[in-house]
């Protein structure tokens, strides 16, 4: 097989090793967890893990898309926080305002994502710094908007998207599954998705092959922002309030989940099923330290150690060596 054919095959069908290794690690972890804590396999605990994993899974899927095209989005945590405060303030306990409030945050998220994409793809700014600036701007805006106090205006109907159950399974899991199906379709069944992989593999070659790299890159940030908004909605429904710090930490955890799931930092390689495994690994570990009753300070230490060790062990080099 010629080198060119080999490369083409790799783009068409990324190797399974990254994602498969992560699922294997998750399985091992689950076995260890069920030995360490008898409550782990309890049905209620498993549903709880699902409920906790749903927002992280949704935001991590968007993050994976951005990382696959060679970028990074550290503004997703701030977008989630903004979503929780705006949606709960605008809803103001009025059931008729649910849909307008949700549409408003989706529009806000789209605007933020397009702004990120414009600067990164068209002006050529550094993705990390650009989304960092967006993070600072958004969290300042959220503070000014709420004057720093938490907001309570979510209707009970809205909270059903996380608290409600369908066939005994929390509704938020269905939302996460829907987000997964959408991301899978976009990445695997559209030209746009193939272009994401191609840009992450070699931006210049993709450009010279006639793809509109700037547009694809910009829309990747749009997608990431919109996924973050949906994650923010699920988070707001779960915690029942809007807070300016609700989403902090999700930027780190979403990136960690994608990398632990075998997506290469720098782009071009990875699959979203791996990201789901990465999310579950993180949430199961956080759940485990909770079940073991460790003090909260120690929990924070374990969280940090898990992320460093997980990313260090599972990180893969990007498709283009350099």
């Amino acid at each position: 097989m010629s080198a060119r054919a080999a490369r083409f095959t790799r783009i068409e069908k990324p190797d399974l090793t990254g994602a498969a290794a992560s699922w294997l690690a998750l399985l091992t972890l689950a076995i260890v967890a069920s030995i360490l804590s008898s409550d782990f396999l309890d049905k209620q605990n498993l549903l709880n893990i699902g409920r906790q994993a749903a927002p992280l899974a949704v935001v991590a899927l968007g993050q994976t898309i951005v990382i696959l095209c060679g970028g990074i989005d550290v503004s997703v945590g701030a977008v989630m926080s903004l979503t929780t405060v705006v949606v709960s303030t605008e809803m103001n306990s009025d059931p008729s305002m649910v849909i307008p409030a949700v549409l408003l945050v989706l529009v806000l998220g789209a605007a933020i994502g397009l702004a990120n994409g414009f600067f990164i793809a068209k002006v050529g700014t550094d993705p990390f710094v650009t989304t960092l600036a967006a993070m600072l701007i958004i969290s300042g805006a959220a503070l000014v908007y709420t004057q720093g106090s938490p907001t309570n205006g979510l209707t009970t109907g809205f909270r059903q998207i996380s608290e409600g159950e369908l066939l005994g399974i929390p509704a938020s899991i269905f939302f996460a599954a829907g987000a997964f199906a959408l991301a899978w379709f976009l990445l695997r069944r559209t030209v746009w998705g193939r272009s994401i992989y191609a840009i992450g593999g070699n931006m210049r070659a993709t450009y010279l092959s006639g793809r509109r790299t700037g547009l694809v890159q910009a829309t990747a940030y749009l997608a990431s922002s919109l996924f973050a908004v949906v994650a923010g909605l699920l988070l707001a429904a779960r915690i029942g309030t809007g807070a300016v710090s609700a989403g902090s930490g999700f930027e780190l955890e979403s990136i960690a989940a994608a990398l632990i799931g075998g997506t290469a930092f720098g782009g071009g390689r990875g699959r979203i099923s791996g990201t789901i495994a990465g999310v579950l690994i993180l949430v199961v570990l956080f759940n485990l330290v909770n079940l073991l009753g460790l003090p909260s300070q120690l929990q924070q230490i374990v969280r940090g150690a898990v992320i460093v060790l997980g990313v260090a062990a599972y990180s893969r080099r990007a498709a283009t060596g350099s």
Partner: protein
């Protein structure tokens, strides 16, 4: 032959401009950043009441010292192509550990300063080792380290203000040597040594080489791992030192003393002309970035602007800085300065065109 002479002349003149440009850049950073600082200062003098006093000037400098110290280490890491998001937690460690060891005067001041610095170096070196030995990106490793260190600080302090300064140490933050605050005077030698290390030592040059292209640096005989570990260790050292500097102004160790310094130090470095892929940036430029941030915070406080706006304003400044960096990377002057005239003498080889469209899109 006349064509050759013209070329030689052009090589010389471009070479001269490159040297002048680089010399200025090395020591004080991009001139436009200092221009922005001066413009902001003049603007504040005319629009902010009580801004234009010598006391306030000293105040800005004094407030800027901790951020300036952290940002020196952050500059070293970013020049080398990494990033250090653990500095905020390491600062909190420096602050609380110093206070805890001094414990109101019962402990040794020397040990209270040396111990946090040593731990800072160890944390930084650990970061550097993980970053250089695995494929894990620096910001994830250091953010994870931040979580670990911050958890340890909460454990040590039981999540409450902790310890107290010795009398002489506690006065340092309010003392003045001559016309300037003691902290500012003590900072000057640190800055001078850092500038000399950046510009006049092999280690400083190596950091730029690794940041520009670590594979080329490795093939040129640079020990890349050592450079990376050293810069991260330096960043841990300076972050702990900044925590100690904060401690000279407060009555007890604050477990969240460093909050916000991670993003602020990166903002200062980026405003100062560095790029996150590495190879560019300078301590001088970073100092201008630090002063811009300190000046804006000071002016906003004097103007009674809600502190909630501060984050947004900083974000806008960072965005402007990164846009300007992207534009200057494209502009003709820089292309001229990066033009390597000697390439004309190399034999042409078949293959892809050497000019890549920059590294746009590739993250740090």
């Amino acid at each position: 032959m006349s064509a050759e002479r013209t070329l030689t002349r052009r090589v010389r003149s471009v070479g001269g401009r490159v040297r002048a440009h680089r010399a200025a850049n090395r020591w004080i950073g991009p001139l436009w950043v200092w221009g922005v600082l001066i413009a902001l200062y003049i603007l504040a003098v005319y629009t902010v009441p009580e801004f234009a006093t010598f006391d306030n000037f000293k105040n800005i400098l004094k407030q800027a010292v901790p951020l300036a110290i952290v940002s020196i280490g952050q500059t070293a890491v970013i020049i080398q192509g990494g990033i250090d998001l653990s500095v905020a937690a390491v600062m909190s460690m420096g602050d609380t550990l110093t206070m805890g060891i001094m414990n109101g005067g019962s402990g040794s001041i020397l040990f209270a300063i040396v111990a946090p610095l040593g731990i800072g170096v160890l944390i930084g070196a650990a970061n550097g080792l993980v970053v250089s030995k695995t494929a894990a990106p620096a910001f994830i490793v250091t953010l994870g380290a931040a979580s670990i260190v911050q958890g340890a600080v909460f454990w040590y302090t039981h999540s409450a203000p902790y310890g107290a300064p010795s009398l002489s140490f506690g006065q340092l933050g309010f003392k003045e040597y001559g016309p300037l605050p003691a902290l500012v005077v003590l900072f000057i030698p640190i800055l001078v040594v850092s500038l000399l290390v950046q510009n006049r030592t092999r280690a400083g040059r190596h950091a730029y080489a690794v940041g520009d292209d670590d594979q080329v640096a490795a093939r040129s005989g640079v020990n890349v791992t050592r450079v990376k570990v050293a810069t991260f260790a330096l960043s841990g050292f300076f972050a702990a030192l900044a925590g100690i500097a904060v401690a000279t102004r407060t009555g007890s160790g604050e477990p969240l003393a460093g909050t916000g310094f991670d993003w602020d130090s990166i903002a200062a470095v980026v405003i100062g002309g560095a790029i996150l892929v590495g190879g560019r940036g300078s301590i001088g430029g970073t100092m201008a970035g630090v002063l811009i941030i300190a000046l804006i915070e000071n002016a906003m406080t004097l103007k009674d602007v809600s502190p909630f706006w501060q984050s947004t304003v900083k974000g806008v400044i960072v965005l402007i800085a990164v846009v300007i960096a992207a534009m200057t990377a494209k502009d003709t002057l820089r292309r001229l300065l990066q033009w390597r005239p000697m390439d004309a003498f190399r034999p042409r080889r078949a293959g892809p065109p050497p000019a890549a469209p920059g590294r746009g899109g590739a993250p740090a």
